[in-house]
Symmetry: C2
Subunit: 584 residues, 2 copies
């Protein structure tokens, strides 16, 4: 190929990756990145850690791993990539292969010719259609300017109270950033009935909610914000956030209600854009005009479990797509197969991670979805640093295919290791039997002989094959723990008496304690006229008990998934219990 | 099926798993485990942590996660499994389906009838064919009795010096156990030219060696022990270990030279046993007699990359196989597909993990194997807890198939997460392009936007496609760093002057420093008449420089894989350098 001129619109994540890959493959080519912002090539995902103070200097988000600032000059000298920042792309002239741009400082306009164009226009935050959204002190965290403004305001001591609208990943990260280091009294308002909607099923979301609340974050679910007003009676800058059921005072309001693709430029140029706003691309990341590529947050991609187009803005996908576009423009052949929706976030001391479909989403997509919940030590239970991990998988009943996984742990590396191992299986249509036999490296400091991942597969098998009859923590709350319990439900606690005692004290006759190892000889004591929920610390001994009862003809029993560990994590019981040491 | 009688020979790992699975599926069946030892169902992999003192009470290795001792009584009351410990199986009468056993305390013999037999006879340590191997104070660590004896001897202050024969996983774990908490002066003797032979390629093994030495362990490679004698002139119990080149004094000698399958019982009964000693089983884990199953350390299994039978004793595989055997005996259908050789070990502060084939092994198996080595931050490089991780993949040149991965990190959870994600891909004949696009959950606290796993795939692609021309750290040592350097080789350091300065001081004219971002304008200074090794901190900037030089017609250059980080980790240079902060 002769020397080509490549123009890339957008210089964060995808754009620089395309540019650098191209220059490595085709050093002679002319590669130009333009961006309307002054700042380019920064790690936007690091913004919450900059606001929290964990990252002290914003330049760290704009530097290479070897501490060089990724400035326009860096791209020019180290990479041979030309950069024009503070330059806005106005229109694409496809017929003449030109992009009209305006230099923002001078206002001067010109047209830039090219052979191939790359759209790396990213996304922008959704804007709530409410009064007051433009008031000073109402911010999103979609770029470095806002991040610096927020941090500046907090550091000056001007923020005692903050309201964050939206309890998705960014909202939860910002709640930690404001609350943990700065001590800002923080309230999260979420329109959905749970935190992290779409990412976690409700039982795990409940655990995250409890964790947020334990760290002093107030969370209001099922509430939407109707208006924001300046609270005139109070100090200047103070705001009032009005929801359907309350008014919240705040010095700072952060909106974190999702982002949408920046696709206006593409649409105006007649390129195919989906009804949801994402630029449509093929497997090689070409738009409907093969001389124009697009990637990153401005495109729609294929979900590898449903085959449907989805919008899934992730810096990691943008980087991988950038390399693919670079390879293809240089004359190679590379393809992007889509996403399994791998996701993780740190919220205070808890890591959350997921991949594939939640059970709720799988059902909505038409799968006959079954889920299994396991709480187990994240390494050999006798190894001193072991801690509990919670994982939930979604599987398809008929094909036994793995559809998704989600989990929580205080050890985010251990959790992500498990989630990523399962995520790797999802495109291969792996089954629960594949999960039961998934080969993880084993040594007591890092994993269990029968690792939680294998236990998940085993549990799903046992449920699908009719051996295990599970009940979820939230269903247990509804029928037993809550304000209006079902009088026909009793709890049979198969742990040792020491662990059971506080529950017996609290629930009286409704909480029966027969340790599993004595169940065989005490069958006569098991109530036969009630529905039983079998309980142990994690769901393992109660599964054993369930089978013992069935063998004795007692079939009206269900096994609490995740056991007492799960309901404690969700904050559904609050009892002072002795430690697990001794019996349990 | 009518009620069946099942006898299981061996009650550690596999045996209990078969028994418990069976009783859950078939509560009426009669399941008997026999074991010659007093101790059953213990976590043998935990022995090094018991000896080190990290696990204080040996009963923790014999207890459930809910702190109940897995004694014979526990199996009988909680699981309905009968146990006869201290009972040795003498012979199998296949025609009459009977096992002859001897009760060890009484010496009484009898024959136990059954419908199905399971061999869970495990493995035993290899015995060195040398004089003195039976002396008091010469031990292996294959069971709890020996572990307790060793710990007892150390705790009494009787061990100042120890020699460990064999620098495989157990040998290295024991070196840490003796040295770290107890301060025992420990020497490892290994017949191979590297530590962890067969598990790591030599460059990574060199890094582990350096780590051991930094922690005060003396390591003698390429040495075999010829004899052990009692050192009469010294205190009673003191030993002398004679190798080909030296004599080592020791109060304790531990042999850790591998294990072999216990298959005599099977062989004597006419079952098929491989020339290497493993019992031969089919995919459902049946021996050559379909009424007899076998699993765990006594069998041979299929390597999923070579298709060849291998002996790979792992407690994790035994547990998974146990469930499969239980399912099959109960009339279900479950299969064991083989192993990808997933492996991990903790050695002092370093975690080592691997899966698949090393490059050396792949070449020996006939693959045209290429490897790529990457040293990169294990999470966003701007996130405060980031640390370097080292990974190496082996790939097949023609098919571009992933053949194996190995790695090192101070964060074992982060390392195992990466290794297990790649291990999950190996059975699916995944290619390096699949690795380049492997979707890991991304958030700065846990991963990078372009994670090290993706960087590995990219690097392998660049090597196979002829863009990257790598040189390994050990080759760099041979031609440049070592005592007899090649005068035709120069080093071109493309980092900043601050990082390069100590190297320039040390190597003088042989170490040229031109920062990568200035290379374009300083091409005239690049020596044209020598072979160049390009160096930066990790191999990324030097790759960029390699392509710049090529574009300028300078083709006699190679890129040091893993950069200065790799050669430092391997202890190949020892220079006081400024921190990476500032330039680099």
């Amino acid at each position: 190929m002769s020397v080509q001129r490549i123009v890339i619109i957008g210089a964060v994540a995808l754009g620089p990756k395309v540019a650098c890959r191209l220059k490595r493959l085709k050093p002679d080519w002319d590669v130009l990145m333009i961006d309307q912002d002054e700042h380019i090539s920064y790690g936007g995902c690091g913004i919450p850690y900059f606001v929290s103070g964990e990252i002290s200097d914003v330049r760290e988000l704009m530097s290479t791993s070897f501490h060089m600032l990724r400035s326009p000059e860096f791209f020019e000298t180290a990479k041979g990539v030309r950069v024009r920042n503070r330059t806005r792309a106005l229109a694409i002239d496809r017929a003449n292969r030109r992009v009209a741009v305006r230099a923002l400082p001078s206002g001067q306009e010109e047209e830039i010719p090219h052979d191939t164009l790359v759209l790396a226009t990213g996304s922008r935050p959704n804007r709530l259609p409410i009064a007051g959204i433009d008031l000073p002190g109402v911010m999103s965290v979609s770029n470095l300017h806002q991040a610096m403004a927020i941090k500046d305001q907090i550091a000056k001591g001007e923020v005692d109270r903050a309201v964050i609208i939206g309890a998705g990943a960014i909202g939860c990260e910002m709640a930690e950033a404001l609350n943990d280091l700065w001590g800002v009294e923080t309230t999260l308002v979420e329109i959905a009935p749970q935190v992290l909607p779409g990412i976690l099923d409700s039982d795990l979301a409940r655990m995250v909610l409890h964790h947020l609340e334990e760290h002093g974050v107030r969370v209001h679910l099922n509430e939407s914000v109707e208006a924001i007003t300046a609270a005139e009676a109070e100090a200047e800058g103070a705001l009032r956030v009005k929801t359907g059921s309350r008014v919240l005072d705040a010095d700072l309001v952060i909106t974190a209600v999702g982002v949408r693709p920046n696709s206006a430029l593409a649409r105006d140029a007649g390129l195919l854009v989906s009804p949801r706003g994402g630029i449509v691309v093929d497997g090689r990341l070409r738009t409907s005009d093969p001389a124009i590529y697009a990637g990153g947050d401005c495109i729609e991609i294929t979900h590898r479990l449903t085959g449907e187009p989805v919008f899934f803005p992730q810096g990691s996908l943008a980087n991988r797509q950038g390399r693919i576009i670079g390879t293809n423009i240089a004359g190679g052949h590379a393809t992007f197969a889509g996403t399994v929706g791998a996701f993780t976030v740190k919220i205070f001391d808890l890591a959350v991670a997921a991949a594939g479909l939640t059970a709720a989403r799988a059902r909505a997509e038409g799968f006959d979805a079954v889920h299994a919940l396991v709480v187990q030590a994240d390494r050999a239970h006798f190894y001193p640093t072991q801690d509990l991990m919670t994982l939930l998988i979604t599987v398809d009943r008929k094909t036994r295919r793995l559809l998704g996984v989600q989990g929580l742990s205080r050890n985010g590396d251990a959790l992500n290791g498990r989630i990523n191992s399962i995520a790797a299986l999802l495109p291969y249509k792996a089954t629960i039997e594949d999960l039961s036999n998934l080969e993880l490296a084993y040594s007591p400091p890092f994993s269990s002989a029968l690792d939680i991942v294998n236990a998940l597969g085993n549990t799903a098998e046992n449920i699908l094959d009719g051996f295990n009859a599970p009940i979820d923590p939230e269903d247990f709350e509804r029928c037993f723990l809550g304000a209006d319990p079902d009088p026909e439900v009793l709890c049979l606690d198969v742990r040792g008496p020491q662990n059971a005692a506080p529950f017996v004290d609290r629930f009286g006759d409704r909480w029966v304690n027969i340790p599993q190892e004595t169940l065989g000889e005490r069958l006569a004591e098991v109530p036969k006229d009630k529905r039983l929920v079998l309980v142990c610390n994690s769901g393992v001994r109660s599964y054993e008990a369930l089978l013992q009862l069935r063998h004795a003809g007692i079939t009206n029993a269900a096994n609490l998934q995740g056991g007492v560990a799960a309901i404690k994590q969700a904050g559904l019981v609050d009892l002072s219990e002795p430690d697990q040491d001794g019996d349990s």
